[in-house]
Subunit: 334 residues, 4 copies
């Protein structure tokens, strides 16, 4: 059983079905009827008028967002464990034409107003330093923690005070939402979020994410940037259809709930071994090399995460009965 | 009946079937078994060891190729009607970090050694001008003409003489190939081509193209560029599967042949109205505004292409019986 | 006697004297008293509040201007003989992060509303093409012609109508001004110019040009871009002092007048040999290879400018008595 | 008396004299006889064949070096207090087209093989992370410490082992050299340095630094990058003349020695107040706000450097008799 990541799981059957339905001739790029529905569908979901773009990957969503929020000579503040810093091969620098990521700390990859203020305090207001233009947070974080709406709002307030935009990398937005039990609106624009990378690939999609702008005027240039980056599919309807299928019947939330519950099962068995509280679908465990080997010998695959630690991620489609043996094996380590 | 472009047609059933087959858990990114087969499959096809990358769009393929062949301070020589110049929103400049496209002429968007030599003659060998590093040709061209292998080879010889790389934008490579009746090898590396954007989207694919390097050592940095551009799908198997499905049973060639034959049907009816010889699946017609309106009134859709001209493109899935009414309508214009 | 270019001439004695005067400790970068005077001095000259930056080279001035006026996904319209297109090694693309230069024609490197409209007519208003954001004209042009204020204004009106900014490459602005006999204001902002690269290096300076913004709000980001490009001298006072010294007592105009008059001397002798009307300090002559050799044999140096043509440029410090022998030698060619 | 920085001091008389001597017509750009002497002069100094470029600023030298050593998708390892990270407004990202600076620690802004290894240990060898291509060290460091040749060599050995280039930001190279008492060769290429930003501006120059390549093949593309960045002065002879004048009679070393000795005077008076050992011409002091105010009241100017600390820099032209009053004032603080 594989717990490497939720990013390679199969696709939800409804997604495949929707793609098959979209397999008819329609206008190219985003001129088709599926793409045409996205803005309205997501505006309804977020209870406000949003402007959206489909893109194929989370890195593309993040970086188009950052390019919309920060000029080449500016800086984005993020956590030193952020995906945009460590796992995108410099894509933010590519898309922003060289803006800098300035790094702050915080438990479990969570920024706080305090760590952000400390970082802001190190930036002189002169032309010799890049000036901050945006903050980027990941929800759920790279360590599986969830910013609650009030925590986002505290960072949103700081951003507003400092004249900064606020981006949320929501590769696991659904997982954060079902944990927090709040509305998409409360988690985002009501808390000051300017742009959201809304992830679907880790949630039953094949290759489609939604970039959601809560502030008007940002989407226009982003359309050019999307084309310019080679991201404008001529058959865009197959991307829009994926997103619409997952939103339908709240499948995206059901998928996230299932993954979170699977992780909770493991967490309950892991007890003191947990490196971080498990709030979404990722579990970080303290395990010795021998223990890791023992788990692998039983058929469980996962990544080592530094010495003495391991990361396990539960996917949207893994069932409780598949996960229980792993939970038992972890419990049996003692 | 729509003849706007071949880029929005439905997907070949075998492609959808292959994607459904790939709908199982496998290693992320390009670590899966489908992605793992691409190099060997394409090496066999091209009768030489090639290194390949799947990418989702033709623009991505073209621009990763150009970035591999030309430094930021260099230039790529191409036709002034080239897709990379006119239809990619500056993507070549984005990916190459600002290299210049220097433009040459030639009938029907075809470069010749002569037009290239004339352009090269205008470039002083000093640091005040960007120096040429690559030539890019499109086959079939933007006006539906086909470079024969010997024509490619003549440009390849010039490139070699001048120390330039040669890129082929093969968004309609299959259409060119079936027209020329030659092998993929004869059309590319044997004629001096360094890198090929091998198109599948216009040929029955959904969102997958192959970037093929005929020269070793270029793919490595391209892997980083692909990731850095947000093009590295975590579920890459769905892209590789599309390409493999179209190669299987030579579907890509059958699809191209069908589209070319459809265009030939129209061409035969068009006679003197043809702006360019029809060699692939695109037809450029002289039609007055009234004539264009008359055709549209009969249910045929297509783009105007400047005053008094129209472009019609036949897709892989359009059948002769669907096209004949158009041909007759054109013939009836007199 | 050298007539290669006006860009390598010695420095005006008043410039050297001013630099020696500035050779005292003062605040670094542009915090010194010389730099602090520039805005007021140039605002007085231009009869309006301008915001200015010193930079060391004309390429730097041009490209900081273009970066202020055009986003990476946009285009700048310019003449196909423009310095920014042919002689800056892609610096515009570097500074704008890959914006495209789209090229129009016109006699003697002069754009006209007509040639610009023809170019604009080729640009579709969709995301597949870079959209125009600015026009750049060179005054005096690369072929020594001068846009009169009404000609600039005609282009300025077109720019305003189309929502485009207008940049003037004024490497030889002084030469244009003394030919036109108009005020700096009439030649620039009153005619719709947004930003001016105001050249001093070809006019008796050592290494300092002024970038002049006629529209507020553009200078701020440009300060960061200037630093980011490594152009912010810590001893900026030596640059500001050069500009101030040339403005003092209208030395810049006297220098330009002298150079223009020298060119007129040559032009008068050249008669039918002139390729372009001589309006500034550049002369383009029809001369056979033998004639060119004959002139060189008499000690006159200049560039060949394509087959059968030569370019001669008169510098600020060349005296009539130095130029007369050249004029006579040209006249003697018959 | 100003101790803000050594970057705004007046220019050495010999430099001004040399610039006046260069005030004759010569070939443009770097075709003149002064520019033509640089390679040979610096090759003699470094006891090996070097390839060099003059540039106007230290930021330009650093960033052209980094662009020569690291691709856009790569990383440069440097200290978190490095000038390239904190004081160049993202110029390294601009010149390298978005390469990342990855940060390591070390006392007094000095990297060590250990801190570098620790940083290298965090970089996975996969396409999701930028891979290291170069190390950059500053000598003397931003905190006035000096890497001895054996310390540079230890880092050079690590660089060689890991296949990385080694860049030295030598804005205060002369100060480091006179402290270490070694040859330029021992401090650079014999210790594994690939490229050196050799500073003259802080050492009596006006606006000229030397970029020195110890490895062949790097200077060629750098020539294009220099032009493309607007750094190629048409009257380059005035830059080359500055460098040559400071090298003559070892003025650069005398100037550095004088500045270092001035700093030593202050250091001797400062005793326990020193934050860092004083090895070059910078002094970092612990002073309360009141103490700082007291010093300023006596006419001494300097920067605060975080709470409770101050930075004082001695310039090439400050004499012992000018500095002694400051030393006494510091001693008098008790």
């Amino acid at each position: 059983m594989r717990f490497f990541s939720d990013n390679a799981a199969p696709v939800h059957p409804a997604v495949l079905a929707a793609m098959a339905e979209a397999d008819v001739l329609d206008t190219a790029y985003d001129g088709d009827r599926w793409s045409g529905m996205l803005d309205a569908r997501l505006s309804a979901l977020f209870e406000t008028e949003v402007e959206t773009l489909w893109v194929p990957t989370g890195t593309a969503a993040n970086c188009l967002a950052l390019a919309a929020l920060c000029p080449p000579h500016g800086a984005v503040l993020c956590h030193h464990d952020a995906h945009i810093q460590n796992d995108e091969c410099g894509a933010p620098e590519f898309y922003t034409h060289g803006a800098k990521l300035l790094l702050a700390g915080g438990e479990g990859a969570k920024l706080t107003p305090e760590t952000l203020r400390a970082l802001l305090g190190t930036i002189r207001k002169d032309v010799h330093q890049v000036q901050p233009h945006a903050i980027s947070i990941t929800n759920a974080t790279e360590y599986g923690l969830v910013y609650r709406p009030d925590e986002v709002a505290a960072i949103g307030a700081l951003a507003a005070e400092q004249g900064l935009a606020l981006h949320m990398d929501g590769a696991r937005f659904a997982n954060a939402l079902v944990h927090a039990g709040c509305s998409p609106a409360d988690m985002t624009w009501r808390a000051g979020v300017t742009a959201l990378s809304m992830g679907f690939v880790k949630n039953g999609g094949m290759g489609a994410e939604a970039l959601v702008f809560f502030k008007r005027g940002l989407v226009e240039a982003s359309r050019y940037r999307r084309k310019r980056a080679g991201l404008l599919f001529s058959k865009g309807r197959y991307l829009a259809a994926q997103i619409l299928a997952l939103l339908e019947e709240d499948r995206w939330l059901a998928n996230a709930r299932n993954a979170n519950e699977g992780a909770a099962l493991i967490a309950a068995a892991a007890g003191d071994r947990l490196v971080h509280t498990v709030e979404a679908n990722e579990v970080f465990l303290r395990v010795s090399a021998e223990e890791a080997a023992a788990l692998r010998a039983k058929g469980f695959d996962f990544y080592d995460w530094g010495p003495g630690e391991a990361r396990l991620v539960v996917s949207w489609n893994q069932r409780a009965e598949d996960i229980r043996p792993l939970a038992e094996a972890i419990a049996a380590l003692g």
